[in-house]
């Protein structure tokens, strides 16, 4: 191992170690330690801690391609052990100077470096033994990580995938329990799950099963399946697709029955963000107009329904939800046009700043004393009735339960997704795309920029207004502080994480950025930190998003695409067929 190799290993190890130590120092490890992934074996906090040496070991093993297997293992082990150094220093500081917690009255102190944290870091084995144990465990994790790295790809990938899937599924133990209750019964669930997390044996079984399935899939499985599908009769292919679609649709329809009350509510939150995401996707993804004040339209939709339907002192109209809904959507749409008109000539950053201001104006207006007699100021609007629907048996049914709201939101999403999809593939979608690519040329080609931009703003605002209207009826009351800038940022982030311009990406992004934090309440205080980390990681590793639109994929992975289609590219732009000439010329120059 050369000195250079060692320096690289040291760098990645200390970097990972610092991340682990910081996560401990700010209290993440301790907070997440409450939730078990695998009962008695691994908590979320420990996962956070030990993913550091895992990453360090993996990277260190792959640092130099020429490295031999044995030395790759040594590198992994070394990286793992070195990763523990910053954490060990933290333990040392916490033990020797417990006063660091309340340095200058706790204001600047590391208030989270508590004995409880140190107990977690040292496996409750005392500082000395525990520290050694920590270094050893981290070293072992690094070694295993390196081992996985040097395994052949066909073996390594299934293991990595199985680890990731098992961890994800154990993280979602609560959801799984809810879903599996009807199948296994309470006794069966107790055998598989603890209060939080999965029991070790089922987790191991899960790991092995996933690894085997993946092994089969990347081996003969995928090819066989594809071959069977391709060689099948076209009619059969259609039937397979139809059946898959029906199964999916039935699952979506029955979801609230399986999920139960609490999870349905979580799904509803995700759904409303999906609805907003679909709207913002039109503005940002399709038309390329960066809108940071998107929450304004959500607020306008919610307040419209609030004012029009409230049974409280502020509600003077007492309309039904269904009568108020179109008015709310219209109000949001008009607001979209209103915002769009003055910013038509602005591009990029300027547009972002102005829309940001617009969002704040709406929020400030909502809290203002000026409008308090009409929209309630800081106290908001209360007593918003739940919508009624005609039910079989001529009795009107009131939508109260989350499981019932689910269908209302689902209908909204399906409508918005359908409109988005149709518009994307139509003339308007092309106009948006052209405008996004080059505004001047688009105009020179005959595209009416004002109309095209305003349509994007208006349609995007309409979807958000719809989401706001449903939200008002769902919660039954609205308060201005729930329409903060953070909502706009959330919606934008979920589009980016899902993949800008991609319709399924909106769903994936919302599940990740809204669903997960809702499920894992301990994450709440670290939500923004995780957002930031996730966004940075995404931008570095997968800038096109988790489920990218085909356009983005080709935009951001130019090189790979160019490798894939070498015929259309990589030619000298100034010469189409220079090869022959060069061949002729070179002997001449040689003879001179």
């Amino acid at each position: 191992m050369t000195q250079e190799d060692f320096r690289d290993i040291l760098r990645i190890a200390l970097l990972s170690g610092l991340v682990a130590a910081s996560a401990s120092a700010i209290g993440m490890v301790r907070a997440f330690d409450e939730r078990d992934l695998i009962v008695g074996v691994l908590s979320v906090g420990q996962l956070l801690l030990f993913s550091a040496p895992a990453v360090a070991g993996y990277v260190a093993a792959g640092e130099h391609e020429t490295i031999e297997r044995a030395s790759a293992l040594v590198s992994g082990l070394l990286a793992g052990v070195l990763t523990s150094v910053p954490v060990l220093i933290l333990i040392l500081i916490g033990t020797v100077f417990p006063s660091i917690r309340d340095f200058s009255g706790g204001e600047y102190g590391l208030i989270n470096v508590t004995p409880a944290l140190i107990e977690i870091l040292t496996f409750e084995q005392g500082v000395l033994t525990g520290s050694l144990l920590l270094a050893a465990v981290m070293g072992a994790v690094g070694l295993i990580s390196a081992l996985v790295y040097i395994l052949p790809r066909t073996l390594g990938r299934p293991i990595i995938m199985a680890v990731l899937w098992t961890l994800s599924l154990t993280l979602l133990s609560e959801v799984l329990q809810e879903i599996l209750r009807s199948i296994f019964g309470v006794a069966g669930l107790r055998a598989i799950f603890g209060t939080a997390g999965m029991r070790p044996l089922p987790a191991l079984v899960l790991f092995v099963v996933i690894a085997l399935v993946y092994l089969w899939w990347q081996g003969p499985g995928r090819d066989q399946l594809q071959e069977r599908l391709h060689t099948a009769h076209p009619l059969q292919q259609r039937r397979v697709r139809l059946i898959a679609f029906i199964v999916l649709f039935v699952l979506v329809l029955l979801a609230p029955l399986i999920l139960g009350r609490r999870l349905s509510d979580v799904v509803n939150s995700v759904g409303l963000f999906v609805l907003m995401g679909l709207g913002l996707n039109i503005v940002v993804g399709f038309a390329g107009l960066l809108d940071l004040g998107y929450v304004a339209f959500f607020a306008i939709g919610a307040y419209s329904v609030g004012i029009l339907t409230s049974a409280g002192p502020l509600g003077i109209f007492n309309l039904s939800f269904w009568a108020a809904l179109p008015i709310a959507i219209l109000a949001a749409t008009l607001a979209g046009v209103l915002l769009g008109t003055p910013v038509l000539r602005m591009r990029g950053d300027y547009l972002a700043i102005v829309t940001l201001g617009f969002g704040e104006i709406i929020r400030v207006l909502a809290t203002s004393d000026l409008l308090k007699p009409y929209i309630g100021g800081g106290q908001g609007i209360l007593q918003i009735p739940r919508p009624f629907v005609a039910a079989p048996g001529a009795v009107e049914l009131q939508i109260i339960q989350p499981q019932q709201f689910y269908y209302l939101i689902l209908a909204g999403i399906l409508l918005a997704a359908f409109v988005s999809w149709r518009l994307r593939d139509a003339r308007l979608g092309r106009q948006w795309m052209a405008m996004r690519e080059d505004e001047d040329v688009a105009e020179a080609m005959g595209i009416h920029l004002v109309k095209t931009k305003l349509l994007a703003f208006a349609i995007g605002a309409a979807f958000s207004g719809l989401a706001g209207a449903i939200q008002a009826a769902r919660i039954g009351s609205i308060f201005p502080h729930s329409f903060s800038l953070l909502i706009s940022i959330n919606v934008l982030s979920l589009i980016i994480v899902g993949g800008i311009g991609s319709l399924p990406g909106v769903l994936v992004g919302a599940l990740f950025l809204v669903g997960l934090p809702e499920l894992l309440r301990e994450f709440e205080s670290y939500r923004l930190l995780m957002y930031g980390a996730l966004l940075i990681a995404m931008m570095v590793a997968k800038p096109e998003g988790l489920w990218p639109s085909p356009v983005r994929r080709r935009e951001l992975h130019k090189d790979e695409y160019e490798d894939a289609f070498p015929s259309d590219v990589a030619e000298n732009p100034f010469t189409d067929e220079p090869m022959a000439e060069q061949v002729v010329e070179s002997p001449n120059t040689a003879t001179k």
Binding site: R422, A426, M433, E437, A442, A444, D568, V569, E571
Partner: protein, 265 residues
């Protein structure tokens, strides 16, 4: 009546007069070139005609209709289309999509109808796709319809840009240095192609070009701009021998010398 008729056009940028009292006409179905040294105001004039710049003085008529006061998209609808000096395709859209955007002035389906995908919308899209395929064949990009514009070789990009400009079925086509950066073979092809446009489609072509062989080869009339002013106008041969033109291109001394040579001959 000329297709394009510009009268006393002046365009200033602050203290700089980019185009000064410029009168100029393009007869129907003709090929006319504007030449001149860099910064002479050629592209500025193009931008005035296509509505990107507001002119300070003068008038421009297209087919007898005043162009001044109309926005670029309205002017595109009148029947003027253009290409750019440094190719400006929509790089992340496919070749077909680029052509379809160029077809905009001739499409009419509304967005609500496209949500419901009415029979009329479907018909229009189908027809547009067919025409786009035809146009791709015409500019020599068969089978490249689904390639991203960015991934096309340079010559193809030039061709695609002309195809996009043709998609609106214009009466007047403005080409800004159509052969820039091309090798001699490509230049010859493009020159022939421009002539085909005029002969077969009857489109009037106004061209900015630096390659004198191209200019002299296909233009019926040539106008020379220098510092925003017209210094010569006429047939290629007339312009070629005009001492003021030689002076503008090569400097005063060269003009005197060439003049003497001409005398000596």
């Amino acid at each position: 009546m000329p297709v394009l008729d510009a009268r006393n056009v002046t365009k200033r940028f602050g203290g700089l007069t980019a185009v000064s009292d410029f009168s100029f006409a393009v007869p129907e179905a003709s090929i006319v070139s504007i030449i001149g040294p860099n910064g002479a105001g050629k592209t500025t004039f193009f931008n005035c005609v296509t509505g990107f710049y507001e002119i300070d003085e003068g008038e421009i008529f297209f087919d007898g209709v005043p162009v001044i006061g109309r926005s670029p998209d309205q002017i595109a609808h009148l029947g003027i289309s253009r290409t750019y000096q440094n190719i400006r395709l929509f790089p992340e859209m496919t070749a077909v999509e680029n052509i379809l955007v160029g077809m905009e002035p001739r499409l009419s389906s509304g967005w609500i109808a496209s949500v419901f995908r009415t029979a009329r919308v479907r018909e229009e899209e189908e027809r547009a796709l067919e025409e786009a395929a035809e146009l791709l064949r015409f500019v020599g990009l068969v089978d490249k319809g689904n390639n991203l514009a960015r991934n096309l070789p340079y010559g193809d990009q030039r061709r695609l840009e002309i195809g996009r400009a043709l998609a609106s079925k214009p009466k007047l086509l403005l080409l800004d240095e159509p052969t820039a950066g091309m090798n001699p073979r490509e230049t010859a092809e493009t020159t022939a192609f421009i002539r085909v446009l005029r002969d077969e489609l009857g489109i009037a072509i106004l061209m900015i070009e630096h390659d004198m062989r191209v200019v002299m080869n296909i233009s019926e009339r040539v106008t020379v701009l220098d510092y925003g002013q017209k210094i010569a106008e006429g047939t290629p041969v007339e312009v070629q021998n005009n001492p003021r033109v030689i002076e503008a291109y090569l400097g005063r001394g060269a003009a005197a010398q060439t003049g003497m040579e001409t005398v000596a001959e």
